[in-house]
Each structure stands twice: as structure tokens, then as C-alpha cells.
């Protein structure tokens, strides 16, 4: 098994510690699959050779013609042989081997100044490979997956579905056994976190724990998959992928209406819209025949990028920034490839040329957009094209205003007309109209003539000129004096303002603007060098001959059955959701620089299953969570801790901290504070004071945080307004929602601890949790068990209870002596405290609840 340590060793250099490390890594590879201690296997190009060549050679001897040195390619077997770099079965004569072994710095490869370095073991492997005939293979991820045969296993009885066969076969080869199944409280907690992100009630736990039906587990899985909260939970990862936020992310950081797209995602996931349709709608829903509103809204996926409306922004430059973002996001999301490199030059590692990049970009280049957002109100800035989706509330309000305006119109018109007549009469009465009236010269000239001397033409233009002068210069001055006009004008302005600020305008895609696309020299929008038209990258299966040559064709191509990447990339992300890490760890990169998957066959089996059975995400997720693999305990035995700390072999379930957005939901729900409403405009729950103002450009708009009240404070984190320039303060380790992210890191820092200990969100949740507990029973033990179960699902052990009781007793003594302190501590949050509960008892139990919410077990998906 190739271990992902090689890439690290390349970076490290110079120090003794590192030498030790490298030696040990070399030792590692000698024994091939030393983790398992099984005998070495034959060399495999994709597993053993490509990573070495790719990391160390392809930069200068790969497919980028501009960077290529000595006109030598090592990425193509024929070229390498022709250049005599490789002479199959004769490593000693192969120039490649001579160069990597020489001590002459002028000859040595990789060159010493390249910061690349081959270990002794890597050199030996290359020699062995050439000795064996220097066999090349296409990169595994670029070949259409075929359904692998389910491997034979010794302990078939352990397996529940094919996933387990692949997992167990590997474990048996490695001399490991699977772990036991987790207990039921852990299973229901795990499933609830993974599928809905909300804790089960103690009753639901009891029902499951006591359910003797052999299908109890599957019944629970199906109930959770059918929950309307499933879509909310699953949307989180997709929003990171789609770099979704509620504002534009630059200086004025205008708010957008993209939450309409977010609501569509939740609905689509809940209804298990097949992934091929999910893909087509989001990339090209607007291009479908008779596209529905939902299909158009879905295409907003590629309008979720940042938008720069800075004063000096050059619109066309920004338009290209947006275009590049669409390519990068689309490529990472569906192809699992980084295309950004090819914006400026042919990709160094993957077979993506600069021409491929711009040929693909052509599909996104027909949007009728300027590149910068428009001003709709001091708050709202969105960019065309968009879909106007008036809500019922909006329609009602506009109809009201229209009525009011219509009602005032006759009066206003009458007043204005009579005022005009009066003013006109005054002009004519003034035998010699002076310049003082501010009339323009042409009007004055005619006016100075006697009526009889004016031609018909002149009479007309005189009247028109007077009317214009009145409307533009005189009438505004009358507004203050004539109430009926004033009211009318005020209402009209009110309507216009309301329209700008409140008419929902969700940005979507459109191909309404014909544009030619060119390859840009070094990716600079001012330097086009050669025209291109839409095409998909040549190294992947061709576009169907009858496919439309546009975004729709692109989307259909991505989900074509022969496409090698889309299905693998998506099942890998689904696996990542349930195990904390993908089968391919580099979820964002399936290119030649990616990690070679230990469980490649499992990945392929899942990909084929997904593709051939209607692309149902729920079906694959159900398959994963009902596997024996998933149902194992996450307990890390000392053996597993030393053999497979990262759990790449799945001899146990994974254990990782919940996403911070789910942590907040969990605390709100376990304390019964949560407002389960689904969908709608974003809300503004507790944030520290002045969280936006300190950074914002305040002269153009008011950046005071518009804090929500009442039930809006307790909506799920998914609905918290996400300002792109300053993300929500209590949602740590989250994607920055600025560029596409398909993998986020889970870290542990003191700032996280401060958040879950001191943020009013958690302090209030602790208070309400304690209140629930106290009201559940007069007995302290029962209260402690109740609150513990609401958060952790399981019942506390005797030892747990003893610790909690001791902690409670200490806190109680403190608060009994300090009622004022108790009152302060219970004063957080907008929810009502039940005043019948004793202050000191409530405060003491709240302190204990705050600790429970901060237990590692409460923060962790086990």
C-alpha cells in the first residue's frame, strides 16, 4: 500500500529529524504494505510509479510545452523511450536512471535547486520498474469505472452489503478484524448527526433502543432519510462547494437574494432529485426546454460567486474573474480537477491544455452580464441576469401602494394642472418675460414675439417648452406647498424604494449574449491570442455528436455513463460525509497528483452502483449507513491507533468533531430552543456587538447588525445570514464561502473552546436545558440523567453521574452564596426563564449543562 507520506518527505529537508523520518519512510516502502505487514506486491504504475514521476519530473518533462526542458517528455512512454530516457528492461543504460543516481550537480535529476528530491527507495523503485519493462498505464481516474467483482472474504457472516466485502477483504489481507457494532444510543446519535444534524429526543432513543424488530436500524435510517431536516443537513456541504453566501463579498458587500437558490437545494435534496438532474439543472437549468422556475433558479449555482462593485472596478476585468471562478468551481465540483493552472498555461500534471480551458470557458461566456453588480437599494446589489420572484407579501404590499397612488393621482394631477395654468398665465401676463424666470433661450425667443407672429410650429414648441420647464424646475418646488402633490410623490418614491429593496431577484444563468471566446495569453483578459469554440477536454470521453454545444451539452456530458470522474467524485464526497475523509483523501483532486486510493475498488463499485441505479443520492447514502462498516464502533484500540490512526482501512467507524454549524443546532435543539422552520430569508441570531461595522465601509450603507428577535434567533445555522466579508463569528472551521471548497479541515483551538463556553448562544442553551431537566423531575439524579441524555443520547454511567453530582454540588454552594451572580448567569438570551425555579438551583444546573454541552463527546460524532 502506498502511503501518503511521500509528499511530505519531499518538502522536508536539511534536518536530522527529517533524515530519520525519511529513512523510516523508506523502510516503510521497502515492506510495501508495512502497515499491515504483508508481503510486497508487484509494482503498479498508478500506485507506485506515477506519484514519483508526477511529483518530481512532470513539472519540466510533462505536457506543458512552455516549461518543457530538453524537449523531453516522461509522461508518455513512447516519447520517453525515443529519447532514450527509458530503455525498457535496461535500467543501467536508461538516461533517467543515470541522471537520478549521478552525484554531479549539473547532471543530477531532479536538479538540486528544484527543491525536489528522490529518496534511495524511490530510485530503487524506478530502476525496478524499468527492469520490469517500464509499463505505463492511464491514470486510473481518467478511465471509465467498471463494476469490480466483490472480493471473497473469510468472515462472510459479518458483511451486510457489498461495501463490507471490499472493506473486510482488505482488513483480512492486512491481518485486521473489524470492530464490534456500536451500541444503539451511539448509533442513533451518529445517524442523527450524519443525516439530519439534530439530536433525537430521549423518547426516540428509547423507542430505538427497545425496538426488537430485526429491521429496527433500517426503519430508523428510513425515517431520518425522509425527514425534512435531511435536506438542510446535506445542503451544508453543497453550499461550501457552491461558495454560497448572502452578500457579494467586496467593499459595499451588497446583500443578494441567492437564498432562493439555497432553498431550492434543500428541496431538491429532500426529494432526492437524481444527481444527474441535480447536475444538469444547476449547470444549465435555464437552457432546458420550457425551463421551469425551479430549473432556472437551480442554475444560480454558477452565480453564487463574489461580485466586485468597487468604484474603480473595470467591469470587463471583473467579468473574467467571475468566468474563471465558474470554471474552477465547476471543474472541482464535478471533475475533481483543478483547472485554474490551465488559465495561464498547459497544466503541469494533468492532461489539460490551455486550449481545453478556454474551450470549456466558452460555455460560460454567453451570460448577458457586465461583470459588476447593480445598485437596487443601499442594501441590495445584484447583477443581471436575474429572475424576479415576487412573494405574496410583496405583491400585496405593491398592490396597496399602487392603489394609494392611483387614489391620489386625480387630485395630484388636478393640482399640478391648475398650478401649471396659473404659472403659464403669469408668464403671458408679464408682457415682457424676463430671463429671471430661467426659461431657456429658444423658449424666450418665441415668447418675446407677438402671438400673431408665432408660427404653428413655434406655438407648439412654446407650449412644450413651458410644460417641460414647469415639470422640471417649477413643480418640484411646489411639492412642499401642495399637499396632494407631495403625498403623491412620496408614495411613488416609497414604491420605487420598496421595489428596489424587497423584490426578490435571484441571479441565474442565461446564454442570451453572443460572445466570441479566445485563449488569453497568461490568462490576461486584454491579451486574446486565438479564438476557440466550446469543446470538452480531449483526454476525457468525447461529447455526444448530437449534444448541444453549450452549457447544457457540458452538463449532459458530465453525467454521461462513460464519464470516468463525475460519479467517482460525488460518491467520494458522500463517503467523506460519513467517514470524515474520502476514499480518495484529496476530494478536490482526482488528477495525477492525487492520492492513490487504498480502496479504489470500493470507490469504483460505489460509483457504478450510483450511476447505474438512477443517480439516487439517498440510495447510496442508505447503502453506506446500513453497511456493517458504518455500524462499527469508533473506538480506537491501541492496535488501530498505531496501525491506522486516520482510519483509511475502516476497521472502525470514524470519530470527528461535528461541523460548528451543527454544534450550534445541536445545542439549540437539545435545549428545545430550536425553531424548526424550513427555508426562507436569512436570519440574524446573536453575534458579538459591532461585528460588521469595524471592518465595513460605512459611508455607503448602514452596517449595523440587524439582530433578529424572538423565534428567528433559534433558526438552524443554515439560515444565519452569511456576510462574505465577515463570516458569522461563532461558526468556526467553516469554509470561507468565497471559493469552492469540497473539504474543510477540522481543527481544535482555544478560540473554539471560548466560543462554546462563552457565546450567549451556548449559555442560553445551557439555561434552557437545565430548565427542561428541572421540570422533568424533582430528583437531582433524574434531572442530571435527563439533560445528559438530551445532549449525548446515552444514559450517564454511575461514574459520570458521580462527577456531575459533585460538580453540581460545588456550583450550588457557590450560587447559594451569590444570588446576584446566579441572576446574572441566568440572564443570557431572549427566552423566558421559568421564575418558579430556584435561582441557585437553576444556575448550578445551568453551569453543569454548559459543561455537558462542552464535553468532547457532545462536540464529537462518534
Amino acid at each position: 500500500m502506498r502511503l501518503p507520506v511521500i509528499e511530505k518527505s519531499v518538502q522536508c529537508s536539511g534536518q536530522i529529524a527529517d533524515q530519520v523520518l525519511r529513512t523510516s519512510i523508506a523502510l516503510f516502502i521497502v515492506s510495501a504494505s508495512c502497515v499491515a505487514g504483508s508481503p510486497p506486491t508487484a509494482l503498479d504504475f498508478n500506485r507506485d510509479i506515477r506519484p514519483i514521476l508526477s511529483e518530481n519530473c512532470f513539472y519540466c518533462h510533462g505536457q506543458d510545452a512552455n516549461k518543457r526542458q530538453a524537449d523531453l517528455r516522461l509522461d508518455l512512454r513512447d516519447a520517453a523511450i525515443e529519447a532514450e530516457a527509458i530503455i525498457p528492461k535496461d535500467p543501467a543504460s536508461s538516461e533517467l536512471i543515470k541522471r537520478i543516481n549521478t552525484s554531479d550537480p549539473k547532471e543530477q535529476m531532479p536538479p538540486p535547486r528544484s527543491n525536489r528530491h528522490l529518496s534511495t527507495e524511490q530510485k530503487r523503485i524506478l530502476e525496478q520498474w524499468i527492469a520490469q519493462g517500464a509499463n505505463y498505464e492511464a491514470h486510473w481516474a481518467f478511465v471509465t469505472p467498471k463494476r469490480p467483482i466483490e472480493p471473497a472474504v473469510k468472515h462472510l457472516g459479518w458483511t451486510r452489503n457489498p461495501i463490507d466485502r471490499f472493506v473486510l477483504a482488505k482488513l483480512e489481507t492486512e491481518g485486521l478484524s473489524p470492530s464490534v457494532e456500536a451500541d444503539r444510543p451511539t448509533l442513533i446519535k451518529r445517524l442523527s448527526i450524519d443525516l439530519v444534524g439534530l439530536p433525537p429526543s430521549p423518547q426516540e432513543v428509547d423507542t430505538f433502543v427497545n425496538d426488537s424488530d430485526p429491521n429496527a436500524y433500517e426503519t430508523l435510517v428510513d425515517r431520518l432519510l425522509a425527514s425534512p431536516h435531511y435536506g438542510e443537513r446535506m445542503a451544508l456541504d453543497w453550499l461550501d462547494t457552491a461558495r454560497y453566501a448572502d452578500s457579494n463579498g467586496f467593499q459595499q458587500d451588497g446583500d443578494t437574494w441567492q437564498w432562493i437558490w439555497r432553498d431550492w437545494v434543500v428541496r431538491a435534496l429532500n426529494s432526492d432529485l437524481p444527481f444527474d438532474q441535480f447536475t444538469i439543472w444547476q449547470l444549465a437549468g435555464d437552457l432546458l426546454p420550457d425551463a421551469t422556475t425551479d430549473q432556472k433558479v437551480a442554475s444560480g449555482f454558477n452565480r453564487n460567486h463574489l461580485l466586485n462593485g468597487e468604484g474603480g472596478a473595470i467591469a470587463e476585468e471583473q467579468r473574467f474573474v467571475n468566468l474563471f471562478d465558474r470554471i474552477d468551481t465547476t471543474a472541482t465540483t464535478w471533475l475533481g480537477l483543478t483547472m485554474a493552472c490551465a488559465q495561464c498555461h498547459d497544466h503541469k500534471y494533468d492532461p489539460i491544455t490551455q486550449r481545453d480551458y478556454y474551450s470549456l470557458l466558452d460555455a460560460f461566456n454567453k451570460v448577458p452580464e457586465s461583470g459588476t453588480p447593480q445598485f437596487f437599494s443601499s442594501r441590495i446589489r445584484v447583477a443581471a441576469p436575474f429572475l424576479e420572484l415576487p412573494t405574496e407579501e410583496y405583491k400585496t404590499r405593491v398592490a396597496e401602494l399602487d392603489l394609494q397612488i392611483a387614489a391620489l393621482s386625480p387630485d395630484a394631477k388636478l393640482s399640478a394642472d391648475s398650478a401649471f395654468e396659473g404659472w403659464r398665465a403669469g408668464i403671458f401676463a408679464d408682457g415682457k418675460p424676463s430671463e429671471g424666470k430661467g426659461l431657456p433661450d429658444p423658449v424666450l425667443t418665441v415668447l418675446r414675439k407677438l402671438d400673431a407672429d408665432r408660427s404653428d410650429e413655434e406655438k407648439k414648441s412654446l407650449e412644450a417648452g413651458l410644460r417641460k420647464q414647469f415639470d422640471e424646475k417649477v413643480r418640484p418646488g411646489l411639492v412642499a406647498k401642495l399637499q396632494s402633490i407631495a403625498k403623491h410623490e412620496e408614495l411613488k418614491k416609497k414604491l420605487a424604494d420598496y421595489r428596489g429593496d424587497q423584490l426578490p431577484r435571484v441571479m441565474i444563468m442565461s446564454d442570451a449574449k453572443e460572445r466570441e471566446t479566445s485563449i488569453l495569453s497568461r490568462g490576461e483578459y486584454l491579451n486574446p491570442i486565438a479564438k476557440v469554440t466550446f469543446a470538452t477536454p480531449a483526454f476525457l470521453p468525447p461529447l455526444a455528436s448530437d449534444a448541444p454545444k453549450n452549457r447544457l451539452g457540458l452538463a449532459q456530458w458530465l453525467v454521461a455513463p462513460e464519464h470516468p470522474l463525475t460519479s467517482r467524485v460525488q460518491v467520494n464526497r458522500m463517503w467523506q460525509h460519513f467517514f470524515g475523509m474520502g476514499i480518495v483523501k484529496t476530494a478536490e483532486d482526482f488528477g495525477v497528483q492525487s492520492e492513490y486510493p487504498v480502496h479504489g475498488e470500493l470507490l469504483d463499485w460505489l460509483a457504478v452502483e450510483f450511476r447505474d441505479h438512477g443517480w439516487s443520492m439517498k440510495a447510496i447514502q442508505r447503502l453506506i449507513v446500513t453497511s456493517a462498516t458504518y455500524r462499527q464502533t469508533s473506538r480506537m484500540s491501541l492496535k488501530l491507533r498505531s496501525r491506522d490512526l486516520e482510519n483509511r482501512l475502516f476497521a472502525r467507524s470514524s470519530r470527528f468533531r461535528m461541523p460548528s454549524l451543527i454544534l450550534r443546532d445541536w445545542s439549540l435543539a437539545s435545549s428545545s430552543l430550536i425553531n424548526p422552520k424550513i427555508g426562507g430569508a436569512p436570519v440574524y441570531p446573536y453575534q458579538p456587538d459591532a461585528i460588521w461595522e469595524a471592518l465595513a465601509i460605512t459611508k455607503e450603507r448602514d452596517f449595523t447588525y440587524p439582530a433578529s428577535s424572538d423565534q428567528d434567533l433559534y433558526r438552524r445555522s443554515l439560515y444565519t445570514f452569511w456576510r462574505r466579508t465577515v463570516g458569522p463569528a461563532n461558526m468556526f472551521d467553516a469554509s470561507n464561502r468565497q471559493t469552492c471548497r469540497v473539504r474543510t479541515s477540522i481543527t481544535s483551538t482555544p478560540l473554539h473552546a471560548l466560543t462554546t463556553l462563552n457565546d450567549p448562544t451556548w449559555v442560553e442553551a445551557a439555561r434552557m436545558l437545565a430548565q427542561q431537566g428541572i421540570k422533568s423531575s424533582p430528583d437531582l439524579n433524574a434531572q442530571l440523567i435527563d439533560v445528559f441524555r438530551r445532549v449525548l443520547t446515552r444514559k450517564p454511567t454511575e461514574i459520570d453521574l458521580a462527577v456531575l453530582r459533585r460538580a453540581y454540588a460545588k456550583q450550588l454552594a457557590i450560587y447559594q452564596a451569590d444570588p446576584a451572580g446566579a441572576k446574572l448567569f441566568l440572564g443570557f438570551g431572549a427566552s423566558q426563564r421559568d421564575a418558579s425555579i430556584s435561582l441557585s438551583e437553576h444556575a448550578a444546573l445551568s453551569a453543569v449543562c454548559l459543561a455537558i454541552l462542552n464535553l468532547d463527546e457532545a462536540l464529537t460524532r462518534e
Binding site: 507520506v5 509528499e7 518538502q11 522536508c12 529537508s13 527529517d18 523510516s24 519512510i25 523502510l27 515492506s31 508495512c34 527543491n115 463579498g249 467593499q251 466586485n308 468597487e310 472596478a313 473595470i314 493552472c341 500534471y349 484529496t586 483532486d589 497528483q593 484500540s637 496501525r643 490512526l645 486516520e646 468533531r657 458579538p688 459591532a690 469595524a694 465601509i697 459611508k699 465577515v726 470561507n736 481543527t747 481544535s748 478560540l751 473552546a753 463556553l757 462563552n758 450567549p760 449559555v763 459520570d800 462527577v803 460545588k810 457557590i814 446576584a820 441572576k823 446574572l824 448567569f825 440572564g827 453551569a847 454548559l850 459543561a851 464535553l855 468532547d856 463527546e857 462536540l859 462518534e862
Partner: protein, 483 residues
């Protein structure tokens, strides 16, 4: 942010050895290099092999003047603009350089002299504007670079470029890179701190974006921690009202006790890390208030920074805070001062901004020097770009504005391995193009890392199949300005 990284790693190793698992070196290597553990904080001193050579600077204070201070009115005197007042900028000078959307429709680009005088400072005689008398007085301690140039012409892309090496969002900031590469020096404070100041009389200016101190694709523990001037200095630092220190201690003890039971149950070494992070959070609750308490600073020190120093949120206050952070070995201290974007009324607004920062910037350098901290602290002063030698709108002797200009501008640096009392690079007579010793933003970043003992080509992180670095594939250490 991870503390005890090394301690955790070694205790884990000891644990494995002591528990007699008899695991081989190879398996140990895997444990020590796995990403999972790296995220938990295995590399105490940053990446293995770092620093790459003996550093001159242990820490950096970056006094970032956001908005684009006018080099032509502060650090780069151009008498020709006065003698050719209101003439058109020659095409031979502009060379087709694109201009921003704000002046694109302007009929002509009229040369605009500075209304402010320049005088020589110190023995080195560097000519500096009358708007910066205190900085001029320390001319012998600083190195002025007059040949900096950038690629962006608007604020967001230009600041992002300065701080992350790329105009597009998504890359780690300099402070995140240094924390990632070098690790931390202090156990009780974050290693990358951001301070934001507001002008006393000026406006709020351009907005700032949290991504400027983000960690990009590096683990989020490397991101900068913003210290706030109002409310808690660090978000959620204060215990809730009614929760005293003693109560918190009691609570944390109970928490740790239950967590240890869970650790034994689950066998997950992450729990050890979590316990230590909660302990560090507890220590921060003491160390941060101590840090921001200036009551023991003598008047002689306060006077160095000027009279604003006692007012939280001012540049002067943040400069003193920066010194206190430097003393506590915080690695990267990033100040932002805003409102240097003078498209109009530069004559009225620039003096206000200069007054905000002049004395305090110089005071910080002097204070660091008198404590012996300047030798290993690198101070950088400057903005994301300069301003045009032509007026935005009409050219007028007394009242004028200037647009953004990235082709040439000035900054200064001090301490931490930089040659003092020098001026490096030069612009043409218009201050429009660099004509001598150009320094690109990537060169500045390479030089900064060099001072910290890092070879900028070797501080890399693999993401999306490629090794990324702060300087992309560019950058050259400006050896001429190294001491």
C-alpha cells in the same frame, strides 16, 4: 492555532513507547506525518526543517496603510510635477497603462504637484514630506523602498495581493504562512494577531475583509485572530456574567475529568488535544486582559506614541499594543489603518491621516529599539498601492485628488535584518514608472520570509494537486536591502 504541538507529539510518542506497543519506526513515521495529527498540532515548531537558515527576525509588525497612501506627497518627492503643473501626462510615460473606471471618462490626465514640502532627514538625508516629521527624524533607522510595484489597480484585489500573493481570494495570508511554517513562540496568545484602527478625524475608509488574515487552504488554526478595540479584545473571551474565574475553574475541572474518562473509552488522542485547548483558552482569559492593560506603562513610553495612545482603537494605541505583543513573542502582528483613499480633497485629508500615524509609527520603532527588540522584529509600513501623478478631476495647486496607481509606490521597513538609513530604488521624474531596482510585491514577500529564515520557494503546501506558496512561482529576495 495549536499550542503544545511538540509536547503533544512527543507525549504521544512516549505514550506509544511506554505502553510497550513495540511499533516500528515506520508506523511511528506514519503517525507523525499524518494530516490528522498535523491538524491536531504535531509540528510544534512549524514544518520540519524550518527555519531554513538562521533568521534575522523572529517576528513581524506590519503597519498596513489601507487605501493607497500617496507616495508623491509622502515619500517620493517630484519637483517636475510642479514645474509642469497641469500639463498632460505624456503618452511616453503612461505607455498605455490602463486606468481605473473612475477616471476612464476624464478628458485629460493633468499633472498634479504635491502641495507639501520635503526635507532631508537624519544623516542619510532621505527626503521625506513635512507631513511625516517623526518618521523623517528616524530616517537613519529605516529603509525606504521607492520602487515597489503591484499588479492590481483596485483596493480589494491589491490588498489581497499584498497579503496573500494572489489577487483572487482563497490563498493563505502572510501571517498564516508564517504560523504554518514556523509555528508559535508563545503558549498563551495566538501567533498571528490583527489590530484594526480608525482615524481620529478621518472617515472609516475602504472596508476590510476577514479573508485578508484568513488561512486560505491551510488549516484554519493558522488564521489571524482579530483583537477588537471595543468589547472583548478576543471574541468570546470573557466568562459570562455570573461565572467567576473560580467557577470556571471548577467547571473546567469537571469537564476534564469526564473527558479523560471518554478518552479512555474511545482511545482517541484528539481528546488530549481538546483538553489542552480548553486549558489554553483558560490561560488566554488571563493573558489577554494583561496584554491590553497599559496601566504600568510609564509616561516616557506613552509619550513616544503620542496623545492618542490611551484611546483604544487608535493607531497609536494599536502601535503600543503591537509592541506588547512583540514582547510576548507573537509571531505576526498585523495592523490596519484605513482611509488613505484620497480621490478628492487629498490636501485636506492626507494631513489628518499622516497625523494619525506619524508619531506612533516612529514611536514604535524607537520603543522597539530602546528595548533591543528592533534587531529581531521586522517593521513594515505601507499600503497596497500609491497614487497617480495626475489629478483625479482638475489639477489645482491647493485642492486636488489622485487616483490609484500600482506601477510605482513607496514603503519603508525597519529592523529585523533590514539595512537602516537607506533608500532603495527610484521612479521616473513623474513618479509614474520605476526606473531603478524594481521591487514587485512578490519580491517584498520573498524578502520578508527571508528575514524570518524562510526560503520562500520552500515554504509550500500541497492543495488541489499542486504545491502552492506565498510568492506563487515568482519572487526574488531583495538582497541589497539586507543588513
Amino acid at each position: 492555532m495549536a499550542c503544545h504541538k511538540y509536547e503533544i507529539a512527543s507525549s504521544r510518542r512516549e505514550f506509544l513507547v511506554k505502553t510497550g506497543l513495540g511499533i516500528g519506526t515506520a508506523a511511528l513515521a506514519q503517525i507523525l506525518t499524518s494530516d490528522a495529527l498535523a491538524d491536531a498540532g504535531t509540528f510544534a515548531g512549524g514544518l520540519p526543517g524550518s527555519p531554513h537558515f538562521a533568521p534575522k527576525a523572529k517576528r513581524v509588525i506590519c503597519l498596513f496603510q489601507s487605501g493607497g497612501p500617496s507616495h508623491l506627497d509622502l515619500l517620493d518627492e517630484k519637483p517636475l510635477l510642479s514645474s509642469r503643473f497641469n500639463e498632460d501626462l505624456p503618452d511616453s510615460v503612461r505607455k498605455g497603462q490602463r486606468i481605473t473606471g473612475m477616471v476612464a471618462s476624464q478628458p485629460r490626465l493633468a499633472l498634479q504637484p504635491s502641495k507639501f514640502s520635503f526635507q532631508p532627514g537624519g544623516k542619510s538625508g532621505a527626503r521625506i514630506s513635512d507631513l511625516l516629521p517623526s518618521i523623517r527624524a528616524i530616517a537613519d533607522d529605516i529603509c525606504i523602498i521607492r520602487s515597489l510595484h503591484t499588479e492590481a489597480i483596485n483596493h480589494d484585489p491589491a490588498i489581497t495581493f499584498f497579503q496573500t500573493g494572489s489577487q483572487q481570494p482563497g490563498r493563505p495570508s502572510i501571517g498564516a504562512w508564517t504560523d504554518y511554517g514556523l509555528g508559535r513562540l508563545n503558549e498563551n496568545l495566538p501567533s498571528f494577531v490583527v489590530l484594526i484602527s480608525v482615524s481620529i478625524k478621518g472617515g472609516a475608509g475602504q472596508g476590510l475583509l476577514a479573508r485578508l488574515w484568513g488561512s486560505g487552504f491551510l488549516p484554519s488554526r493558522h488564521q489571524g485572530v482579530q483583537f477588537r478595540s471595543a468589547g472583548d479584545p478576543v471574541l468570546y473571551l470573557s466568562d459570562p456574567a455570573g461565572m467567576t474565574r473560580k467557577r470556571r475553574r471548577t467547571m473546567l475541572d469537571g469537564l476534564a475529568e469526564l473527558n479523560r474518562i471518554q478518552e479512555a473509552e474511545s482511545g482517541d488522542p484528539e481528546i488530549e488535544t481538546r483538553i489542552s485547548q480548553y486549558e489554553m483558552a483558560y490561560r488566554m482569559q488571563t493573558s489577554v486582559p494583561d496584554l491590553v492593560d497599559f496601566s504600568h506603562e510609564p509616561d516616557s513610553v506613552l509619550d513616544l506614541y503620542g496623545k492618542d495612545v490611551k484611546q483604544p482603537g487608535t493607531f497609536a494605541h494599536n502601535c503600543l499594543l503591537a509592541r506588547r505583543l512583540a514582547e510576548r513573542d507573537v509571531r505576526f502582528i498585523q495592523l490596519y489603518h484605513r482611509d488613505w483613499d484620497h480621490h478628492g480633497d487629498l490636501n485636506g485629508r492626507l494631513p489628518i491621516l499622516a497625523r494619525d500615524v506619524d508619531q506612533a509609527s516612529a514611536g514604535l520603532v524607537k520603543d522597539l529599539k530602546q528595548r533591543g527588540l528592533l534587531d529581531d522584529t521586522l517593521v513594515i509600513w505601507g499600503g497596497e498601492f500609491g497614487r497617480t501623478p495626475y489629478a483625479q478631476g482638475e489639477a489645482k495647486r491647493e485642492a486636488y485628488g489622485r487616483d490609484h496607481h500600482g506601477k510605482a509606490f513607496s514603503i519603508w521597513m525597519a529592523g529585523g535584518g533590514i539595512k537602516p538609513g537607506t533608500v532603495y530604488g527610484a521612479t521616473d521624474d513623474f513618479g509614474f514608472n520605476v526606473i531603478e531596482n524594481p521591487v514587485h510585491i512578490h519580491d517584498l514577500q520573498a524578502t520578508l520570509l527571508h528575514c524570518l529564515g524562510i526560503d520562500h520557494t520552500k515554504l509550500t503546501h500541497k492543495f488541489q494537486g499542486r504545491q502552492f506558496r506565498l510568492t506563487d512561482v515568482h519572487g526574488r529576495v531583495v538582497k541589497d536591502i539586507l543588513a
